[in-house]
């Protein structure tokens, strides 16, 4: 079947099997490999993207067909004109990533969280990210990264060199 999805402002028209999941549509049909697949049960959150501006969606729980005619934001669309998004900058400054596999999902879930709550408390952040697993960081620096992006923590504690 034919689907047309606007991803990061670019329209992708593809002919896919009806059972194609949005995660694989993005990765294999659009060549956008930022969304990762880390489980088979929609538990890990590595594949989270934002649909229609503000809704964080695990792209492994959505068919590409369901995204037909919708707008999707992936990690590839966060930085603008070579400038990192404040969330990306926060994750970098606060050492909010190690292996990087969960990072795209963390960024997009945080993006949607901040759309709904511009100044979330630590508890809000921890509960808001509870659908995204990370095996490397212990979450503490991810929380700080979101706090920095929301202007609640000064930037760049780490030395530039």
């Amino acid at each position: 079947m034919k689907v047309s999805v606007k991803v990061n402002g670019v329209t992708y028209e593809r002919d896919v099997e009806p059972r194609t999941l949005l995660a694989y549509f993005l990765r294999e049909d659009c060549g956008l490999t930022g969304a990762h697949v880390g489980c088979d049960t929609s538990s890990c959150g590595c594949c989270v993207v934002v649909v229609d501006g503000a809704r964080a969606v695990k792209s492994c729980t959505m068919f590409a067909a369901q995204a037909d005619g919708h707008e999707v934001l992936t990690v590839e669309g966060l930085a603008q004109a070579g400038t990192l998004h404040p969330l990306q900058q926060g994750f970098w400054d606060q050492h909010g990533l190690q292996c990087g596999f969960c990072t795209p999902g963390m960024l997009l879930t945080s993006y949607a969280l901040l759309q709904q709550n511009a100044t979330p408390s630590e508890t809000d952040i921890r509960e808001g990210l509870a659908g995204n697993l990370c095996r490397c960081t212990g979450y503490q620096n991810i929380v700080k990264a979101v706090q920095q992006a929301s202007g609640q923590l000064p930037a760049a504690v780490a030395a530039a060199s």
């Binding site: 990762h36 489980c39 990690v75 930085a79 095996r135």
Partner: protein
């Protein structure tokens, strides 16, 4: 930053990670991101039975599935001489695809190659296998009886894999018999799975020159290349292994798995590239589990609490094949670290391993092989001894610590601990956590019937495998290597035999080179994981990167500096003996005004080298003289809800001593992550099988890993006792928090429950188990005094 370090030119600084921009923008290069023209997908058909004879395999329906190109079964591989795979320490072999029978649920039975991922999975489902179920052995204690022989393929007709022991058996027995105080406790470290978020996978193809191109989630790419050459007979120069970005490893990505072999065979047979990416279920059910050690711990002591002897007898469950990824010469790895931080006059440790109908392994999950088990046993054992003696667990530890002036310390089980100051490290922890105030609060709460616990773990780790006389994989010694090239403009590249899976090598390796050469770390590129370009190395696990490769990089950089000194002498117009390295520059001895920078020397190495050999590069292969011995003092404070059994970690303080710190931000991040995995093992992570060998938690909905909601906020600090034998004084840190913390978590829970007379619970100490323990204690079932 709560991890302190002395900032120097480059080392000791919290430098932001150089690898992060690509990960932050979705530009990481993980193996599943690779797409090669003409690529097929591989899916594996797996056994629903834990133990069964294979009567027949019918692939005809699978071949009819649209898109399926080929199906391979065990007999096909056996005919090609690839039916079995040697395990890394070489004591056993493992079936690639089942031959004759299956030995664990989810064992690989058939490999299906198809045009798409979905078609391959459809094909795998269509493989028809006729099984005749056999009796299942799901427990190592049942395995001991040999009533069902699991591995008739082996010469030795028993389920017993090995007996290993170290120490003084008779002396320990005598000392225990004559000790005034004694404890004995069976402590089980449950079966866990590291579950890195990126599953294992590979892409294999033969290029136009006939070379095998193999991109794979490997923590040890060079070892894979050699192992593939030995197993397949392909000349080693015709094998190119690439470990791209890896989404976490934790030991899970050390072994070679059947899926990798099938992908290569498929690529050869069909003549097209093959991708295999396991699902989460396949990851949890068939690749490298960890632990599953049942440890009988006995400690003797004098009435005033001086330890006299330690004996640990372990029954180990290795599953269907002894596929332990053990790089040491000893089948139980370095379990001998079980005497921990304490000055035991005599000790004896023994391990007996058995086959069962469970997934094969195990692997060293974020630790040196079997060190987490050993550390947990002694740290839990010391708390039980304190309870027996009626003594404060801190006082007991302080009384028995190896003292600062005893280093280098020869342990009763044969290690030579390099350095440490255990009293100081614990002292910092006690002060920072406010131990006295916590004890006062605990007494007040206990008087009100509330359950508050304070748990300690004062562990000693052993990392940096390892000295060639003790450590190898398939005979290859456990050295590591570095190659440094400095370009004419003073930028450069360092390549190492390690492979980062999130540890931040692209940053920290550059910091080391920059420190040794007085260059800018931002212009030192780091490359790892490509066997065509990196010098031979044994990879990243066992916290060996900094102790071994970090040392190799330091030594290679010093070789570069020695070469540079000759050119500096030419530039400064003095003899080489008159040049010294001061404040990151070459200087004429005693003449601070006459200097030349490394950048200037680098340019001269290509443009004005006089009679010196042109160029500026060096290679170093480092065979460590000893392991390194990081240590730590961890404190957990928990509150338990008496009605529900819920454990809340109120505080957790980790004071680590990993020697000299290269990047405090990275070190702190490693500690946060390791503590979270320790928290996970203590409270939730357990791979469970029922009595019939059925795997009960095959996905992240059932195999629980911590989320941000329940993970505690970590407090960290450090002391610095440099390693005397490491060229930078560093010891490694990635695994300490995972090794040291489980005991602190459990000790805190047991301390909270101790007024109920509860002395031990096995992990995971989840709500259900704690609630049952409280209920039983209150009903008098543990003989405990019930308090108001």
């Amino acid at each position: 930053m709560s991890i302190e370090s002395k900032p120097r030119h480059s080392v000791g600084k919290a430098m932001k990670r150089k690898e992060d921009p690509r990960f932050l923008q979705g530009k990481g290069n993980y193996v599943d991101d690779l797409k090669v023209p003409g690529m097929l997908y591989l899916s594996l058909a797996r056994s629903p039975y834990p133990h069964a004879e294979i009567k027949n395999i019918d692939i005809s329906e699978a071949m009819k599935v649209p898109g399926v190109k080929a199906v391979i079964i065990g007999k096909d591989l056996e005919a090609a001489g690839l039916g079995w795979l040697p395990t890394f320490h070489g004591f056993d072999k493992q079936m690639v695809l089942a031959i004759g029978k299956v030995l664990f649920q989810y064992q690989e039975v058939a490999a299906v190659f198809a045009e798409s991922r979905a078609a391959a999975e459809d094909g795998a489902e269509a493989v028809q296998v006729d099984y005749a179920p056999l009796p299942v052995v799901a427990d190592p204690f049942a395995s001991k009886t040999d009533q069902v022989l699991l591995r008739p393929d082996r010469d030795s007709k028993t389920n017993h894999i090995f007996h290993w022991e170290v120490g003084n058996k008779d002396g320990t027995e005598r000392a225990l018999a004559s000790s005034a105080k004694k404890i004995k406790q069976r402590i089980w470290f449950q079966r866990c799975h590291p579950a890195p978020l990126e599953p294992c996978g590979c892409v294999a193809w033969f290029d136009t020159m006939g070379r095998l191109q193999f991109h794979v989630t490997s923590q040890a790419p060079h070892v894979y290349r050699t192992a593939l050459a030995l197993v397949t007979g392909i000349a080693e120069d015709k094998i190119h292994v690439v470990s791209p970005d890896i989404g976490g490893g934790f030991g899970n990505k050390v072994p070679v798995y059947p899926g990798y072999v099938c992908a290569i065979v498929g690529a050869l047979k069909i003549g097209r590239p093959v991708k295999w990416i396991e699902t989460r279920t396949e990851n949890l059910t068939s690749t490298g589990f960890a632990r599953d050690y049942h440890m009988d711990v006995e400690i003797g002591a004098t009435p005033d609490g001086r330890v006299t002897a330690l004996h640990v007898a372990t029954t180990a469950d290795h599953g269907a094949f002894d596929a332990a990824a053990d790089p040491s010469k000893y089948p139980a790895g370095i379990f001998g670290i079980v005497t921990g931080s304490y000055d035991f006059p005599v000790a004896h440790a023994e391990v007996d391993a058995y086959f069962t109908n469970k997934a094969p392994g195990g692997i060293a999950y974020r630790c040196s092989f079997r060190v987490t088990e050993a550390s947990y046993a002694i740290e839990r054992g010391m708390d039980i001894l304190a309870d027996e003696l009626g003594m404060d667990a801190v006082e007991l530890r302080q009384k028995n610590f190896v003292k600062k002036d005893q280093f280098p310390y020869p342990s009763a089980l044969g290690f030579t601990y390099d350095s440490g100051d255990y009293h100081n490290t614990l002292g910092v922890a006690l002060e920072k956590v406010g131990y006295k105030a916590l004890l006062k609060e605990q007494a007040e709460r206990r008087a009100k019937g509330e359950l508050m616990g304070i748990g300690f773990s004062t562990f000693t780790e052993v990392v940096g495998a390892g000295p060639s006389k003790h450590f190898d994989i398939l005979g290859i010694k456990m050295f590591d290597s570095a190659e440094i090239r400095i370009h004419p403009t003073g930028a450069g590249i360092v390549r190492a035999g390690t492979k980062s899976q999130g540890q931040g090598h692209e940053t920290t390796w550059a910091q080391i080179v920059a420190e040794e050469l007085g260059l800018d770390p931002q212009t030192i590129m780091v490359e790892e994981g490509d066997t065509d370009t990196a010098p031979y190395g044994l990879g990243t696990y066992a916290s060996r990167s900094t102790p071994v490769a970090g040392a190799a990089i330091t030594m290679a950089a010093r070789r570069v500096r020695e070469k540079a000194r000759k050119i500096a002498a030419h530039l400064l117009e003095v003899g080489e003996g008159d040049v010294e390295w001061v404040d990151y520059k070459f200087q004429v001895k005693g003449v601070p005004a006459k200097t030349v920078t490394m950048k200037e020397v680098a340019f001269a190495a290509y443009t004005n080298m006089a009679t010196n050999e042109p160029g500026l590069e060096a290679t170093y292969y480092y065979d460590p003289p000893n392991m390194t011995y990081p240590c730590g003092a961890y404190v957990a404070v928990v509150d338990i809800d008496r009605e529900t059994g819920e454990v809340k970690v109120r505080r957790f303080l980790a004071v680590d001593d990993c020697g000299v710190v290269i990047n405090p931000m990275v070190v702190e991040g490693q500690i946060h992550g390791g503590l979270t995995e320790g928290f996970a093992m203590a409270y939730m992570q357990e791979i469970q099988y029922d009595a019939e060998g059925n795997h009960l938690n095959t996905n992240f909905a059932d195999y629980l890993v911590p989320t941000s909601a329940e993970t505690p906020r970590w407090e960290t600090a450090n002391t610095v006792t440099p390693s005397p034998h490491h060229p930078m004084g560093a010891k490694g840190v990635g695994e300490s928090p995972n090794v040291g913390s489980p005991a602190a978590f459990v000790n805190a829970v047991i301390d909270a429950l101790s007024p109920l007379g509860i002395r031990h619970l096995d992990m995971p100490v989840n709500r259900d188990k704690v609630w049952r323990a409280i209920r039983d204690a209150e009903a008098g079932k543990t003989g405990a005094a019930v308090f108001a």
